[in-house]
Symmetry: C2
Subunit: 351 residues, 2 copies
DNA sequence: CTGAAAGCGCTTACAG
DNA sequence: CTGAAAGCGCTTACAG
């Protein structure tokens, strides 16, 4: 580890060329004679030279960093996306810089300013509530990629999963198991995603020719405690249900706990389906059936789109699909279980 | 939102002073006559001027960013610390820049280089396996704060909780409940924290005059699946136990699932204690009794120590303590439960 | 193909 | 107290 800082000039001197030439071979920004090219590379290696990104940034007007506006680095949901972004940027000269809005519009605005002010060369926005207009204005200055939120008039650079069909998938699974009284723990109605999932729930029921009972729909806030409260509300209301579709896994965890405290078994008494596919959902008791969002892939795709945009190409965001992950929190509706059990016995003969 | 970029010079021109003066009032680096000071401030406000950190960095030799070397931004454990770091830096002119080692020494080295290369003005290292020597060498160049790892000869800037006594706390809770056959799912022995917790487990048993049965100790890797496997191993070995102390919550989740699959009830048949106090542990079924680490506070303290060091003061890291959080995964050992139940009946009279 | 020069937007001795 | 000037370490037209 050489501790003294080596500059472009040191390299130039040692290689017997001008700083301009060194810069050119390093950036490949112009043809350099092969022999010179080689000595420069050799000297760079010998001296262990690493360009100073700050100086590069100032001179070139680029900071080599990509801002990521997230809500919460602690969240398992966003965390996975951040991981995907890191992965997507790996090997590129760009480095992600994160700033969190903590679900508060003011924090989000301040985080956005911090990022722009660094400055960043591109911006990846994960959800949040910054007004479309602000983001669109930014998009004129710097490439903006939006994930999990819509940006009217900027469709090319938005990555969204289909929440309606994702929710439909989850509810359909319950319908296929014979459930007809399916409750829904919705996300906050201010959330587009939450509204879409509620919509998917409704459509699945309608397609199955089932009525929609508003008594079976409770709004939560995407956090665990609200899932717990939702189940309490449901039970208080008294409308019978044999299955719950929660708009995200965290609320499903809360619901699971409420059921547990009441001695209501999952899935024997009530089937439970979540949404998101958090890593932890594979280790709840029982492991949670959920509609997985490809969060890691979403992050990676966003990073690649940002890189594309930075290279002057179209961002190109893929269409990513949700996936139903069937685990152990869902089971056949009892009536059908009974029927099947009887049938099995009949077929199998004895006891 | 003014879109054109405003520079120091623009402000100077509009205020009728030199750029030097503007810089001085902004940084408070020298006395400036009150009237000039005021006009400058007014112009800054009117124009919405924000200094370019890149240029500041190049000129001052500081980048105004603090590098945070973490293992995994996805991890609930580290995530909380990162959140604390964000909080601790909030309001200061410094911004955190994260880089992840993903538990691989090579990734960690590369992440470290990326950070130093930006460069960063200070470094916060969360755990990891970068050799002491490398970190110590760095500490000569830039303030280094280490959290969750030791750095010989750099004690002032290391923040560690007492893992031995934390583990002791957890096991003591089980002992207090009357358990005498307590299994331990240890972390990887290459981990100092894991060894310390194992040590705390042993001491608690010894202090209670209980033998240490190696058959009751299984090594995991701090991830959920290893907790599951550990329980299987324990059951296969056949040594009876009525309680488990897991070296972290994630392994406790895995253990819980293994128990669940076997139809072994928690806490009726087996009590379970974790370590870390992850947010999710309040919503497992049953909610997990655990030894909480003050992760958020640790992150915040590290950030403040970095800020202190940057201001030329001693880092000053507080001594943070673990805390036993008793929830519902632990219960009196059955023999005592029975005795107490009898007693209760006796005292209370009728059935 | 390559060097000398200007410039990115600041900070900070250096004079006064 | 304050301005003119140099300089941070690069990049990039501009000439040749």
């Amino acid at each position: 580890m050489t501790e003294s800082v080596i500059t472009l000039e040191d390299v130039a001197r040692a290689a017997g060329v001008s700083p301009s030439t060194v810069s050119r071979v390093l950036n490949g920004s112009a043809k350099v004679a092969a022999p010179k090219h080689d000595t420069v590379m050799r000297v760079v290696r010998e001296l262990g030279y690493r360009p100073n990104p700050i100086a590069q940034g100032l001179a070139s007007g680029r900071s080599m960093s990509i801002g990521v506006l997230t809500q919460d680095i602690t969240s398992p949901f966003y965390g996975d996306m951040l991981h995907g972004i890191e992965e997507g940027l790996y090997g590129s000269p760009y480095h992600p810089v994160f700033a969190s809005g903590h679900w508060h519009v003011e924090d989000e605005t301040s985080a956005l300013h911090t990022l722009l002010n660094r400055p960043v060369d591109a911006l990846i926005v994960l959800g949040g509530h910054t007004p479309d207009a602000s983001l669109l204005a930014l998009a004129g200055r710097v490439p903006v990629i939006a994930v999990g939120r819509r940006l009217h008039g900027h469709d090319l650079a938005c990555l969204n999963i289909d929440n309606v069909s994702g929710a439909h998938q989850g509810v359909q699974h319950l319908l296929d198991l014979g459930h007809t009284h399916i409750a829904h723990i919705a996300g906050p109605s201010a959330h587009r995603d939450a509204r879409d999932r509620l919509d998917g729930y409704r459509r699945a029921l309608q397609n199955a020719g089932l009525p929609i009972n508003d008594q079976l729909i409770v709004e939560g806030d995407f956090m665990e405690p609200s899932g717990l409260l939702a189940v309490e509300t449901l039970i208080t209301r008294g409308a019978p249900f044999t299955a719950i579709f929660a708009a995200n896994d965290q609320m499903a965890y809360g619901a699971r706990l409420a059921l547990f405290r009441r001695g209501i078994r999952v899935p024997e008494d009530v089937s439970l389906v979540g949404f998101d596919g958090l890593p932890g959902s594979a280790f709840t008791t029982p492991p949670l059936t959920t509609v997985r969002q490809p969060t890691f892939e979403m992050g990676r795709a966003a990073a690649q789109a940002a890189l594309n945009a930075l290279n002057g190409n179209a961002p190109h965001l893929p269409r990513l699909a949700t996936e139903l992950v069937v685990r152990e929190s869902t089971a056949l509706h009892r009536a059908r279980t009974a029927r099947r059990a009887r049938k099995t016995v009949t077929v199998g003969g004895a006891p």
